[in-house]
Symmetry: C2
Subunit: 196 residues, 2 copies
């Protein structure tokens, strides 16, 4: 029986998660089977169960790994001494880089979290809401201190987060500007758009 191939720096669990993100992105969580995943990893389905218990565990791990990364970054930003505009710029750059560099994981988290099982589903939904509220609070801080023009902070969050999902089209397009140029263009429009 084939063994799961790993790099020096990756555990077998990480290899499986990477393959699961690729598969869930391609086929959708609902349509993907453990058999598909095994063939993706290059082993028999039985081998997978030495490392993970179920398809839902994979979705759970992808979603919460992504969420934890975003929260960790947000907490760093929140406690930094940067101005509200600098904080917003750092957050926008982080979001763009994540969807550029970890496209499939971010895509699956963003589109498939609704298939999580309880109690994780409710937990994830609450975290998502709280995360957006924290972003809105930073924008509101910018408005209150005169850095950001007078807008509805939640609407700004909604616009920015949705615009960043546009990087999906960038991933799919044949003729594309490079990633840094993409990031800088997006930041230019948003920071200029928000600044007073």
């Amino acid at each position: 029986m084939a063994r799961i191939q790993t790099d020096k720096d990756k555990s077998r669990k990480e290899v499986i998660l990477r393959a699961a993100a690729h598969l869930f992105h391609k086929k959708g969580y609902k349509s993907a089977s453990m058999r598909d995943l095994a063939s993706q990893v290059g082993v028999e389905a039985a081998s997978l169960y030495n490392h993970i218990r179920s398809k839902t565990e994979l979705l759970h791990d992808i979603c919460f790994n992504t969420a934890n990364l975003y929260w960790e970054h947000l907490h760093e930003i929140e406690k930094s001494k940067a101005s509200p505009i600098e904080k917003i710029e750092k957050l926008i750059r982080f979001h763009i880089r994540q969807i550029i560099e970890h496209y499939e994981e971010v895509y699956v988290t963003d589109r498939e979290w609704k298939h999580l099982e309880e109690p994780y589903l409710t937990n994830y939904r609450n975290q998502r809401r709280d995360y957006r509220k924290s972003l809105a609070a930073i924008i509101q801080e910018g408005i209150d201190t005169g850095y950001v023009q007078f807008i509805d902070a939640s609407t700004a969050v909604l616009i920015i987060l949705h615009a960043i999902t546009g990087v999906e089209s960038w991933h799919r397009s044949y003729q594309k500007i490079d990633a840094t140029e993409l990031e800088n263009n997006m930041v230019t429009i948003f920071i200029n758009g928000l600044k007073k």
Copy 2:
């Protein structure tokens, strides 16, 4: 057998298309059946076939009605004497209003067009690409004439169109600002963001 209920100003075909947009939005085009649609309209499935031939015809009509509306508006804007910034603002406002007022039709067009059958699929894909190119050309005109700051025009289109899909979240949220405020907030951020 129940007859299809209509208003004075709506044909039976329009009533069916409205119901189909609602159903395809709720269940997805693939999962929705003609039986579901009949029960949505309040008639038996057989009655539907007096007005439409197939599920794919419904998707075709929804997508191309929406596309035609957008093209018509774009052509009006293109031949108007407004400045590039004014043109961009009018286009952004039009897109936002469409997704606010005809949410289900726009959503289905945007998400489900990939299920169109040939030759309509290729035709739709080409129109979509050309429409985005036309939007980029207006932004590029703004850059060339010094109204818009130096950015990649296609990236700006990608950002704006994706941001506008954020109105989906607005539709789903319980506590929401009113539609005009939403539109004005989005326009403020984008026009300020693009202006030189």
